[in-house]
Symmetry: D2
């Protein structure tokens, strides 16, 4: 049969949903190339390949994107202290741009005029993928089956999917599906939906996959050091053994292994999705949790106060939102990412940490940058400091406050009754 | 002898420094009233009184400011998620406004035209105290001996202080002084100076005073719930015993006790002082650490996304800086504090937590506010949601990105080589 | 005939578009009530009524919303110095919330389950109206014909509209339509579309309607004063005649008349619409332009510096965006609007202005607030100021810079070659 | 006589103040080199030289810094739309960094360990100069006579200065001094102090020096075009004559001449100085006023919306404050300035303007950047746009608002009485 509708590159995971989509797209008259990005998830890639071909894929492509994921996405996020709503370290968001870019490059190479994915219609990932697709290739066409009535009405429940799979000879894993969904990559795993949708339900212990429970973690703290250059981790050393790692991917994977062992990196939140609904998510981001603590600590020692303020205000907040909402390939992202390196020129040095049962404990830090001057900072000696200067500093800072206070007093608000002057009305 | 220079209200701690200042001020011809605020620090108030009078104070006044400290300072800080440089919960900063206000009220009542304190010339506290003094009473006069050459040159080392104390018959505690300085109140204790001035020195285990070491904390997690109304904690319940606490000070002290037991709330940072020097500080903020985690979590469930963004950007950042720098009694503080309650009207509900060896683990949350709609948020059912709408949403979000992409392509930057279009130049 | 589909409240202007929509909705089986808000536009309301009824409206309702427009929308915008992208004073945006609220109240009263409007599918107004509808009445149903293929495909050009109008006996104004679209209310008039879509086309002189051309404006400046209370204009006085106006609507209309006479308030910009397209718009906002200049000036004299910074950062920017994007009835709007009054408590006083050929010239300002202290500010006398304090102030401000400079120097970047240290790399 | 105290580089203007300081420094035992920066002010440099030498200067140095002033300071400010408190274009602030840098370079070259200036103790300039000195050369020593009691008590009034000048044989200009102070450079002139200290006094007509009064400006508008590359003006063309200018300094001076002729660029404000006092200032910034209007306009056509928002929030506000407060040579300035060029890559194109009696009227703009798409933006044709998408966009934007509305309604706040739901409490 000639493919009358054209060629589609499908983001294929090997699961029931994308296998159904694969077969259905062929039914609909498309030729399908299945694409799987290796971003560090635990996966039997050969089994996925076999299944894709069995479902009718013309070709199956797996790409190892781990290095670019670490170097182009994760490290800038570490430099920027990226975080969403105070808690979420953005593991899924960070992987989407590299996957989408891989897909667009492959689609271009393979002559696909369509790309497709299995994301649902209420989530963030559909937005992240598609905005990336359109940003990178404005004329790309997207097929999102879970938003097409023809598809979602036909496959309204799991049984319809299973029935269709059977009819197409698609092998279905017999293991009972977990009562939640996950997304995994080398940065993190997310859990959402199913029983987690009640925000008051405590996740069961056996849900957590990437980290040891703090209760089962070792009784003895483990010490490590992390060295940063321009805000990027360049070396992890285990203090006891002296072993160290310097390759970017190794650094990250070693931190993952350490954090996993010590029960570090679990969070459970209700977050605000881009489309405006609240959603409960649980996440394990093991190595990233250590890195964030260490990077923030080193900035205390090496980053100028005002640069930090500006970076926090602009870069941290905005870059996090850009990642979460899916605007990585946008003019504002290019602008914000361009502001990260100039903020990190002095963030060079080493942080000492202790890992223990869920805790990342900072034990010290050092740097050759000279923004901290022990002698000058000392409370016990003057070290070139003239205390009278502070009197002038305070007196000048007080000019505005005293003028305001006098004004308030003359308007009858202050005076003896000083509480009144600053009470909220 | 008549006091020719006038009457001074001195912030008196009973320590060697302020005892010396007390005696010295009398030497200089002032009449001194000693003032000690009870903000929850561990202290033998009678012993301090006795010492003050022995040093020559005309009067000794101790005021219990704990309730106003909790209700007027700590609770707004909880509502605002106040934090300085990502780590420090502002325990010292929060106490300063209530102490300064107590002093100004007392000074006014007692006819003191001067206030005095024992803060050093390099720190934040001198600024916090004095800006508060001037804000509340613009014509107050401040004597800061550690910034007066006449004083600091005379008392350049500890031995000069001890010698003077002896000469004045001031009793000196024989216990060897610790190699760091502390400031304690019911919110926290701080450690700085001395051996901590080397930022790479790990604090000794026996330094920490307000919390158990995580390693020595109980092996079994303890479960509690915290109920908030308008962002303020109104009830803490221990799940196992069912005991609960509703008085504002009790709520806070119970959380302190729980956190202390479970090793929660230690941090160690290099921070940026207002005068522009970096400084290493260690802090224990036990109950506050639990409260912060619980409050942020409940906001996930109950606070509108955009209100949260605005509050984070304006209130959290600015209120934290106002507290740290000492501008609590200023027009901008009044403005910012006025913005806190409108941000918290929906922050009502209960958070379930588990405390374990340094960890504050969120286990669930509930609320009668209806911003989270389980059915609507569900990934497994449509619940009134029309997935096609998201297609339109994405298409419109992409308009700007596609236009930009087309423009870049026509300028030869994008096209097949999509990596180039978004590379940083 | 029984109306099978239900009852619609239609925003009706009397123009060809909404007349067609009115008749078409009836064709489609709806019962239509036509609604016209009087927000100060130049209009023959009786003629519109007659036409609505002729088109088949069951009822025509006109509501005078001018006072709430001025007091609830315009005045907060003046207090906030609201402006979009540095130039546009938001005249259309400001009227939408009062119109939408009037419609929802009327729809509720009249038992309409639908509301409808004639906005096109690319503009901002559809979004502003509909977000307001949904915010005020979440279960309201909206009919937007220009986004329904059934409608927009049928009425693809003006001739189709005219033909349909004729077939329905709808009277069509014979005056040749202008080569642009307008939206008018008492705050402003907007011009867009048509010949203005080429951003390099200079608008013809006869386009401008609400203001005199500066070239034709009087040769003599006219002096006025505006008095503000809490940032709201409470009195306008013509200096020469001594006439003054204090009613809120009068104040605004008088400023309009003065600005119109003196050619004040024209702008021409390319702006960014909410849906992500750029658009060229010309606007005349006569009275608002005077008010903005006067209000900003008075804030210089009466508003604390730091409150101003925070207000600019939070309120001005965000409130303007809320208005432009159409989120007036949203949680964030309620929050931001709640922050306006606390920012204006001291903005009391009088501004003297001179109006001349497009210029609003500030000639002086006075206030009983006492934030400006002539004697203290004076460069010619000390007035209680101790110049040495500034030495301390500068020395402390320089601590951070000197430390940074020393660090750079030791790293070989600065020293004698001071240019290099601060060159951008 | 050997100079026992060392060598001073004095910022010398030729006026009474700095002449007195020059002579006084010599009296005090310093060797003085007088330094005058040519930043485009109207000045007889030879007369100043002669006077400096007559006062006893060892050497007089004049440096032409106009080009670096325009290219390194003014153009970044144009790119950033820098403005202080909505009105002041920062003319004095912009000149300080180039003058301070010139002085530090000269001081280094000439072996001066001191620099000195004649700024008063209440103003901004002392801070700007000295922070720049310390930033560029952390070990420089500054002599600020107007903050030294020894100096300011001796020279407390003008007559003391005159008397001293006579005693030293310093020639004093016989022209009566103006009742205000000025600072002039090629960007602007400022007027402050004297009769201007009453903020309600209208400046006399003959005060304004750099611009024609709008009333006396030509009756006929004059048309020009300005071309920008990456936000920098690269060409000014007079439409009628066709003359054009491309050299950076010429571009600026031509715009000055045009603005001067047409009465453009006067402002009168009360501003907030860094030391916390309010101050009245009048300014003429002729060419800069035209440039700002043109640059903002072109950004409308060529700058992405979100990049603009971020730039406004971070760069515009902060860079303006950095300039005004005097932190040009600081880490945060380096960071912020580093963010300017990435924000301007697409700001390429030409703006058409008309200049008339104080008005800068935008008449059109064009660009080869393709962010504006006339066909796509058109209200009159679909041009590839699918109006249904906007329905989905609005529906998704409304999800959050409807959820909030439903929640409010269930809590009894909304419903039929929609006004109540959004009333401020």
């Amino acid at each position: 049969m000639s493919s009358s509708h054209g060629r589609v590159l499908l983001a294929y995971s090997g699961g029931l949903d994308t296998s159904t989509i694969l077969a259905w797209l062929i039914d609909e008259g498309y030729e399908v190339i299945a694409y799987l990005a290796n971003v560090g998830q635990e996966e039997d890639f050969d089994a996925v390949r076999e299944k894709a071909l069995k479902c009718g894929a013309k070709e199956f492509i797996v790409e190892d994107l781990r290095r670019e994921f670490v170097e182009e996405l994760i490290f800038p996020a570490v430099q920027a202290n990226a975080i969403y709503e105070d808690v979420y370290l953005l593991g899924t968001s960070l992987a989407r741009p590299v996957i989408a870019r891989g897909m667009i490059e492959t689609a271009t190479k393979k002559g696909c005029e369509y790309v497709s994915h299995g994301c649902t219609g209420k989530g963030n990932d559909q937005v992240r993928f598609e905005l990336a697709f359109y940003g990178l290739k404005p004329d790309i066409k997207v097929i999102a089956p879970w938003r097409l009535p023809k598809f979602y009405e036909r496959f309204a429940g799991r049984s319809a999917l299973l029935e269709y799979a059977e009819s197409k000879g698609i092998p279905v894993t017999q293991t009972k599906s977990k009562p939640w969904s996950t997304d995994e990559n080398l940065f993190h795993i997310s859990y959402e939906a199913g029983i987690l949708e009640d925000p008051n339900t405590t996740p069961p212990d056996d849900m957590w996959k990437l980290t040891q429970s703090p209760q089962k973690a070792p009784e003895t703290p483990e010490k490590i050091t992390i060295e940063f250059k321009q805000g990027i981790p360049v070396k992890v050393t285990k203090t006891e053994s002296g072993e160290s790692y310097t390759d970017s991917v190794d650094v990250f994977l070693q931190l993952n292994a350490l954090a996993r062992k010590h029960g570090i990196g679990r969070v459970d939140i209700v977050e605000n999705r881009f489309i405006g609904v609240k959603s409960r998510g649980c996440y394990e981001s093991p190595g990233a949790t250590i890195l964030r603590a260490a990077h923030i600590d080193l900035e205390g020692l090496t980053l100028d106060r005002e640069v930090r303020r500006l970076r926090d205000q602009l870069v941290t907040t905005k870059f996090s939102e850009i990642l979460y909402y899916g605007f990585f390939f946008s003019p504002e992202s290019k602008f914000v990412r361009g502001c990260i390196p100039p903020s990190q020129t002095t963030v060079n040095g080493t942080v000492k940490l202790s890992l223990y049962k869920g805790n990342v404990i900072i034990e010290g830090r050092s740097s050759n940058e000279l923004l901290y001057d022990e002698k000058f900072s000392s409370m016990d000696e003057l070290g070139g400091f003239e205390p009278e200067n502070t009197s002038g500093f305070i007196a000048v800072q007080a000019i505005r406050l005293r003028r305001y206070g006098l004004g308030q007093a003359e308007k009858g608000k202050a005076g003896a009754d000083t509480k009144a002057a600053y009470a909220l009305e």
